[in-house]
């Protein structure tokens, strides 16, 4: 793969470069300890933990209801899905059925959040390759999704919208119309702007096609999940293989590609954006009337036991392992986060490649460091 074969006559020296945690392209605070031979990367060791906020420990000292805003902060780029995993785990321990309207609202918010998160991924990926215009396309439309969140729950990033037993509040009148209006405006832009500006560009093509190829076996070995695993040709979409909420009632496809390279990972996300839009349109039609919250006492006592819930977050298989000792506080709450696995694959993948490839590849995995460190 290397295009610079080492020259035996030339005495060269490898050097260490600590890339990050304050590097513009490490998506927050990832540190990559690189061993470089000029432009060529010899070895890479990812160091995580710079954003550790001990969310899981803090949760043990809060009531179950107080854990929801903390769960938001596990993945702040996709807060709806990370808090959804938490409340679903609590509900499973409580053996609670939640109103159908709440289920639909959860799916609507999760899919909107997936759009927002994938737009962010698209933007940062193209920015890391040096394209500022696609980056701003992504952010321009992400703002419009955040507007929808803001009118619903008042927040644009950390929503605190999921509740044990449903959601915090109903949608405002006309929300669905505004959502459909957004989809009508934005969906055509996917092909006319987003893909038009980079997909056929030979520079982009050369920098992503065949770069960072991850085989399916290696991907499974490192616990790669979500869109990144679907780019290696395996359907692991939790919404399909272990359906939760109302996903069985909704029609959508799971995009699969077999190349496993940077380009495939990017394409999977673009296709998922379309599928999310499809799900949202169905939800807007099917949304039932009724309660949005099965009310629970604030100091909620959860029966002793343990459970594991996994959902398909924007980044992949997000799991929440919850242990209850029968008190009003969780005994242990552990999150299984996709970005952590994706960071671990870097040491395998970032070898014998060029320095420029590193930013392209790491961005294509769509890692979010708060999720890695928690």
């Amino acid at each position: 793969m290397s295009t610079f074969p080492p020259n035996p006559d030339l005495v060269t020296e490898e050097f260490e470069l600590k890339m990050g945690p304050h590097h513009p392209s490490t998506h927050g605070v990832l540190q990559l300890s690189l061993t470089l031979d000029g432009e060529r990367v010899v070895a890479c060791r990812p160091n995580v933990g710079f954003l550790h906020r001990s969310i899981e420990k803090i949760m043990e000292h809060r009531t179950y209801a107080q854990g929801v805003p903390l769960a938001d902060r596990v993945d702040y780029c996709s807060a709806m899905t990370s808090s959804l995993a938490y409340v679903m785990a609590v509900e499973k321990l409580l053996d609670l059925t939640i109103p159908p309207r709440a289920e639909y609202l959860r799916v609507i918010m999760s899919e909107l959040n997936r759009i927002a998160s994938h737009l962010l991924a698209y933007g940062t990926f193209t920015l890391d390759l040096g394209g500022t215009t696609p980056f701003l396309f992504g952010f321009r439309d992400r703002e419009k999704v955040l507007d929808l969140f803001e009118e619903t729950c008042g927040a644009r990033l950390l929503y605190n919208y999921m509740r044990i037993g449903g959601v915090a509040c109903d949608i405002k009148p006309g929300f669905l119309d505004r959502m459909i209006a957004f989809l009508d405006y934005w969906e055509p832009l996917l092909s006319s702007e987003y893909e038009a500006i980079i997909d056929e560009n030979p520079i982009f093509y050369n920098r992503t096609k065949g770069v960072g190829v991850l085989s399916q076996a290696d991907a499974l070995r490192y616990g790669v999940c979500g869109p990144n695993l679907r780019a290696c040709g395996l359907n692991n979409d939790i919404r399909k293989i272990e359906p939760y909420s109302v996903y069985p009632e909704l029609e959508f496809d799971v995009p699969i590609r077999t190349e496993g390279d940077t380009f495939a990972r990017y394409r999977i996300r673009m296709e998922e954006l379309r599928q999310s839009a499809r799900i949202l349109r169905q939800c807007a039609e099917k949304l039932p009337k009724g309660e949005y919250l099965a009310r629970q006492p604030y100091e909620l006592k959860v029966p002793a036991g343990e459970t594991y819930v996994r959902i398909e977050s924007s980044r992949g298989d997000l799991g929440c392992y919850l242990v209850s000792d029968g008190s009003e506080r969780p005994y242990r709450c552990k999150f299984r986060t996709p970005s952590f696995s994706h960071c671990s694959v870097f040491s395998h993948l970032f070898r014998d490649c060029l320095f420029s490839d590193i930013v392209a590849m790491s961005a294509s995995f769509d890692i979010v460091l708060p999720e890695t460190d928690r």
């Binding site: 470089l36 390759l129 394209g131 520079i203």
Partner: protein, 364 residues
């Protein structure tokens, strides 16, 4: 002499500031940026979208001038201080032979309006910008920063890959015009090809050369998609990471000034410089639009500016459209594609020049 030097320096700097504003406007148009559209005194911004945004550039310049001059303690001071000066020097020096216009007023023959119409002008404009590479390498090395060092190395790699095709691309016009003087090259383009005045611009016989030069010119001025030495997302602005204040501003101004220079050279060498095909008379007719004193000079200046800025707008358009090239792809592209292409261009131009010489009489 000193006044002239200061005037040139001021003109180059003000032009570069204008270009920074223009670049912001273009990016604002392409990306729907609010700042470049509206930033500025309220009245002005509302009256005309085109005037909005100049305030940001003015603030930028003021900030950079008044910023504290920081020299990190571990740098190689001599190189660190010299690099931005040399870069600026090269950026200004390269303006010398560019033929802005020409006049026949009160002259026995058409005289090129340039700071100095060197008889080796084309060689000069190829040689002088290469100084930039030395200073970028010096800046990268002396900064004592690994990212900067990689940026400096990349700059050298890039120069080696594009400079040779660039020189070959410029060989075509030299053969066609039979001269290295930029003024003569422009004059040769007013004469037309095969007796047809509209074919006079060298972009027509040397279209491959023009394309190769244009690509190399982007690389030469370190602009995206060939901005590998400073690639913000990989190296954290590479060779100028450690620079701040006025020293950083010098790199920045030089970059924009170089962008203008390469589009001026493209205009002079391939787009007929100050001439309009079919309208501007050949120099030997010696008419020169003598309606008013120096009228031909003014028309030439306007025509030249329009052409040069149009080329510049294309450069800016490219900047906001493409993603960055990988260093090894650039080398492959330069050595395996541009170089053979530019050599083929030399052959094509030689044949055309020979046909022109035999059947339609000599060029200039």
């Amino acid at each position: 002499m000193l006044i002239a030097l200061i005037a040139i320096y001021a003109a180059v700097s003000v032009n570069a500031l204008f270009l920074i504003w223009l670049e912001r406007k273009i990016s604002g148009r392409i990306q729907r940026r609010q700042g470049p559209m509206l930033c500025g005194p309220k009245m002005m911004a509302q009256k005309s979208m085109w005037l909005g945004g100049w305030f940001a550039t003015a603030c930028d310049a003021t900030k950079l001038i008044f910023k504290e001059d920081i020299i990190p303690s571990k740098v190689d001071r001599l190189g660190f201080i010299l690099a931005p000066i040399v870069v600026m020097l090269a950026a200004i020096a390269v303006y010398v032979p560019i033929p802005w216009s020409a006049t026949s007023y009160h002259q026995t023959e058409q005289v090129t309006f340039a700071f100095a119409d060197l008889n080796v002008g084309l060689l000069y404009i190829v040689a002088v910008p290469s100084l930039t590479v030395f200073s970028i390498l010096t800046a990268g090395w002396s900064s004592n920063n690994k990212y900067s060092m990689l940026g400096g190395f990349r700059s050298v790699v890039q120069m080696l890959s594009y400079e040779i095709p660039m020189v070959f691309a410029l060989m075509g016009p030299i053969i066609l015009a039979g001269s290295l003087s930029l003024g003569d090259i422009v004059k040769a383009q007013t004469q037309g090809l095969f007796g047809i005045p509209f074919l006079g611009w060298f972009i027509i016989p040397s279209v491959i050369g023009a394309a190769v030069y244009f690509i190399c010119a982007i690389a030469e001025s370190n602009r995206p998609p060939f901005d590998m030495p400073e690639s913000e997302q990989e190296l954290g602005t590479g060779f100028n990471t450690e620079y701040s204040g006025m020293r950083f501003a010098m790199f920045y101004l030089a970059e924009f000034s170089n962008a203008f220079v390469v589009s001026s050279i493209f205009t002079a060498v391939f787009l007929g410089g100050w001439s309009i095909p079919g309208i501007t008379p050949p120099p030997e007719l010696n008419l020169g639009f003598c309606i008013l004193p120096y009228f031909d000079l003014l028309v030439g200046l306007v025509v030249f500016s329009i052409k040069a800025y149009s080329v510049l707008l294309i450069l800016m358009w490219i900047r906001w459209t493409f993603v960055r090239v990988r260093p090894d792809h650039l080398m492959n592209f330069g050595w395996k594609f541009l170089l053979p292409l530019s050599i083929a261009n030399v052959i094509v131009c030689t044949v055309i020049a020979a046909v022109q010489q035999i059947y339609y009489g000599g060029l200039s």
